[in-house]
């Protein structure tokens, strides 16, 4: 086909079609590109969640979990003056997956306590892994006027179909006032 032989009217028609074609192709490609860049995020049930431990209902302790078992509230924890008191199994963290990859977890401070530092010596949280080397401590200690903590722990891999307890150890000062309390919020990070 000799393009020079194409009459002007036909050229104009071709040019118009070419321009609209380029427009349609470009707009379609851009829309497709936007589609590829959009992503959908679906909510899945977490494989790592809390399980109520065997200490629930003993030593004044009440453990409640939210509907998704991802928030555990421990009320009625006791601290005795000048004596260490241990809840060895108030709540557990469970990896309910049935295969690898195994997630990593760690303890991290969330809301630091501010109330009644004069009444407490420490409140310690222990992620009680099976292997001693995998255990992680998050300790809140009071110097009598302020609270401090040991900070976020190192990650530890929790195997699938495994649950570890989070122990709580408390101690009040010798001259602590009865019924004084402190609220501590910690997180269990999952990676």
């Amino acid at each position: 086909m000799n393009l020079k032989a194409i009459p002007f009217k036909r050229s104009a028609k071709l040019l118009a079609l070419l321009l609209t074609s380029m427009l349609i192709a470009t707009v379609s490609a851009i829309t497709y590109l936007q589609l590829t860049m959009s992503s959908t995020v679906a909510v899945y049930k977490s494989n790592v969640y809390f399980v109520i431990g065997s200490d629930d209902g003993t030593k004044g302790l009440t453990v409640t979990l939210d509907g998704t078992n991802t928030t555990a509230t421990l009320t009625g924890l006791r601290a005795y003056p000048n004596a260490s008191f241990t809840y060895s199994d108030p709540v557990k963290v469970r990896n309910n997956a049935t295969a690898i990859p195994n997630p990593q977890i760690r303890l991290a401070p969330d809301v630091n306590p501010s109330a009644n530092p004069e009444d407490f010596v420490y409140v310690k949280f222990l992620l009680n892994a099976t292997a001693v080397g995998d255990r992680r401590w998050l300790n809140y200690t009071s110097n009598g006027s302020t609270w401090s903590n040991t900070g976020t722990t190192a990650w530890v891999t929790i195997p699938f179909s495994t649950q570890w307890s989070i122990a709580v150890i408390t101690k009040a000062t010798a001259g602590a006032s009865e019924n004084h309390s402190v609220t501590i919020t910690i997180k269990v990070d999952v990676d």
Binding site: R10, L17, L18, S28, Y32, L35
Partner: protein, 163 residues
């Protein structure tokens, strides 16, 4: 989903095929009805509508449904390419043009479409049977070689002069 093709890619491919058809039929407007290039432009716009619908109802429509309406659109565009081919051969009796169209338009577009469909199905975990894949590659090689040999510019010029 694995990074790869979205079902809308088939609609995009269909749009491009319709646009190509529109331009080619415009160039050959002494052999096809005058309205055909514009109809193909409208068909391409319909394809753009497909992608827009997918974009707006991305989460409502499942991938299965999106695949099928985009794939059917691609099939319609391929059917039009083949129909034009048949029109040149059967209605207009322009065998050389039909042969050129077959080698330069119909076969490559069908092969490209099959390639992308097989790629998509592979990513979805349903690969084409090995024998079919080999057959497609062999067909592509034979057709490509045949087009290069039999549709050379010199040979075509002589053929068109004869017609």
């Amino acid at each position: 989903m694995a990074s790869g093709l979205l079902p809308e890619f088939f609609a995009l491919l269909g749009i491009d095929l319709f646009l190509m058809l529109s331009l080619l039929t415009c160039l050959l407007d002494d052999r096809v009805p005058k309205a055909i290039p514009y109809i193909y432009q409208i068909a391409a716009l319909v394809g753009y509508g497909h992608i827009l619908v997918s974009k707006d109802f991305f989460t409502v429509f499942g991938e299965y449904m999106r695949f099928w309406y985009c794939f059917i659109y691609l099939l319609v565009s391929l059917a039009n390419i083949v129909a034009v081919n048949i029109y040149f051969a059967a209605v207009k009796k322009q065998w050389t043009l039909a042969k050129v169209w077959s080698g330069a338009v119909s076969f490559p577009t069908i092969l490209i479409s099959i390639f992308f469909v097989s790629n998509y199905s592979y990513l979805q975990g349903v690969p084409f049977p090995l024998l079919l894949q080999i057959a497609l590659v062999v067909a592509a090689i034979i057709m490509g070689t045949s087009v290069a040999i039999f549709l050379s510019p010199g040979a075509l010029r002589n053929k068109f002069k004869e017609e």
